[in-house]
């Protein structure tokens, strides 16, 4: 199978997994720092009204705010585009003047246009996922075309200029708003569902949260939750379902941490599980669930079950908090609500943990683990890999020798056959060849 065929065979999850693998190391770092921030605030070690909080908050949030830049570089590696041009496009989308202009235009109702004619749809790029992946995909298709049409002499100037111009412009006109449109449609659908069958909403959110996070469309549900909190004093749309989903992903990670045969992956999964318990589940999602596939299905089922329980018991989040264990404080308005919230967490975690163990999973290869953890492979694992590589090399050289022998025999046969044919055509060797052929054939 050629490299191109392999690329064509990559599924959506393989692509997403491939994009997120190299950046998980920063996501998990930032996730843990966010959890540390929340714990320090909860225990009263730092105040939300302090510069320490602002710094620590920045440490955790900056990675997520500038996520499109990390995604751009990783997507470029997957789609075979130029990484730093992709990063430049992401930086363009996050440029403060552009972000502020979008915010302002959206707030006052100003219709943004490009060159006074092309309408620009409002989009929120900080922390977004889908827009930049789509933009880099298009970039990977544009680059070969540009390389074909630009003369070599002007390549170093025109290639970056045209690539940036085309990708940035197509990004803000068409590709960027796609994520917003999906998010808006989703928010409208969830709002309708909440008005019609409210208990179903946490079930759907609990089960589908991994996909909401992948597309970044969970951000579209934030206004719905904020509005509920302002109007009703509680939210039943986003936080209960997402808490179920995060606990489910924690269950996935801990099950993998127990069952995995690779030390480093065990360690990675345990850390991912801890951050998921605190509501930051990206490392579980992109490092465990998506690459191993079966755990993803387990988390969907487990999150759905937990979300269903949250729905039928109508648990209410009284404040907008990161949906993890610390969020339980926001559910403690009355004892019944708190108990049902704890049960939601327990059910989601236990169901997914059990499902992951029962369904099993394929171990990721050592390179993937090394990429996820950002660490060198251990000596033991390295020697195992070296042995495996040597064995593969031996097998390959044996196969090469065999192939060469077959090739030599085939070549000899071709020459003999050609000579025979030539002799027959010339009428020189007919009798001798025929008599000579028979014993050969017998041999």
């Amino acid at each position: 199978m050629t490299a191109t065929q392999k690329e064509k065979k990559m599924g959506v999850f393989d692509i997403i997994g491939g994009i997120f693998k190299p950046i998980l190391i920063v996501i998990i770092g930032a996730g843990v720092l966010q959890a540390v921030r929340d714990v320090l605030v909860q225990v009263g070690a730092i105040s939300k009204v302090s510069s320490s909080y602002i710094f620590l908050d920045g440490l955790g949030n900056a990675v997520f705010y500038f996520l499109p830049i990390f995604l751009a570089i990783a997507s470029a590696q997957v789609f075979k585009a130029t990484p730093f041009l992709a990063a430049a496009t992401a930086a363009f989308l996050l440029y403060p003047n552009i972000v502020n202009m979008y915010e302002w235009a959206n707030n006052v109702g100003w219709n943004l246009t490009l060159f006074g004619a092309i309408p620009i749809t409002y989009a929120k790029y900080p922390s977004s996922v889908l827009p930049i992946i789509l933009i880099v995909y298009v970039q990977s298709k544009i680059e070969p075309l540009l390389k074909k049409i630009i003369p070599d002499l002007l390549m170093s100037i025109l290639f970056p200029v045209l690539t940036l111009f085309v990708t940035c412009i197509s990004g803000i006109i068409i590709l960027g708003p796609i994520g917003t449109w999906i998010g808006d449609a989703l928010a409208a659908g969830i709002t309708w569902l909440n008005n019609t069958v409210s208990w179903l909403v946490p079930t759907v959110v609990g089960a589908m949260s991994p996909f909401l996070v992948i597309t970044g469309s969970h951000y579209s549900l934030f206004p719905v939750a904020t509005q509920n909190l302002a109007q009703l004093g509680y939210d039943t749309v986003l936080i209960p379902g997402m808490m179920a989903s995060n606990m489910a992903l924690a269950g996935v990670s801990f099950a993998i941490a127990i069952r995995s045969k690779q030390k480093m992956y065990k360690s990675y999964s345990a850390s991912a599980g801890i951050t998921s318990l605190f509501g930051i589940s990206q490392s579980s999602l992109y490092g465990n669930a998506i690459p191993l596939k079966k755990p993803l299905y387990a988390s969907i089922i487990g999150g759905g079950i937990g979300g269903f329980y949250a729905g039928i018991t109508a648990i209410k989040a009284r404040s907008f908090v990161t949906p993890g264990l610390l969020a339980l404080v926001g559910f403690s308005s009355d004892t019944g609500n708190l108990i049902n919230s704890i049960l939601t967490c327990v059910i989601s975690f236990a169901a997914t943990f059990a499902l992951t163990i029962i369904m099993g999973f394929e171990e990721p290869d050592a390179n993937t683990v090394a990429e996820l953890t950002g660490q060198a492979i251990s000596e033991e694992e390295s020697s195992d890999m070296q042995k495996a590589a040597e064995e593969a090399r031996d097998t390959a050289s044996e196969a090469e020798v065999a192939a060469a022998e077959i090739g030599y025999e085939a070549e000899k046969a071709t020459i003999t056959s050609g000579a025979t044919q030539l002799g027959q055509d010339l009428g020189l060797t007919e009798k001798e060849e025929k008599s000579a052929d028979k014993p050969d054939a017998k041999e």
Partner: protein
Amino acid sequence: MKKISIILTVILLFSLVGCSKAEKKEFTSHIPPETAEVGQDIQIDETNHIEITDINIKEFEDSKYVVITYDWTNDSKSAATSDKSFTITASQDDVGLKPNLKVVEDKKKLVTQIEGGETLSGMEQGFALRNEESPVILSIKGKMFSVFIDGKPQSAYPVKVTVELP
């Protein structure tokens, strides 16, 4: 190696906690009022003042809109435009109102640059009403990210103005 990483983590945590208690320098900033009224000069941040001068209801394409008229004073030393200086949003019954500039007289004032010390009068913004009974709450936010209250930073907040509809 394990010991070193544990020690580093502990140092990190202690330094974070220590930092929060080691702040001795007193910082100050303008503290905007939490609420204000129509006709009042509202200083929303260090350099920007807003005064709401008029409230109207307009009908456009079968929908009703509230149009607010205000003056903006740029009290800084340099030229500025409103889009980089403040934001005014509106809500009714805790639901954000959709903005619409088709109902205003001169929307270009929103992007008109004024020099430091100058006032731009008659600026307008329109919002689609949900009903004509409930009051409209305007949220006016300046360009500060945080304000210092008792020397401690806090996220900046918008000034709320409650508007009874005419």
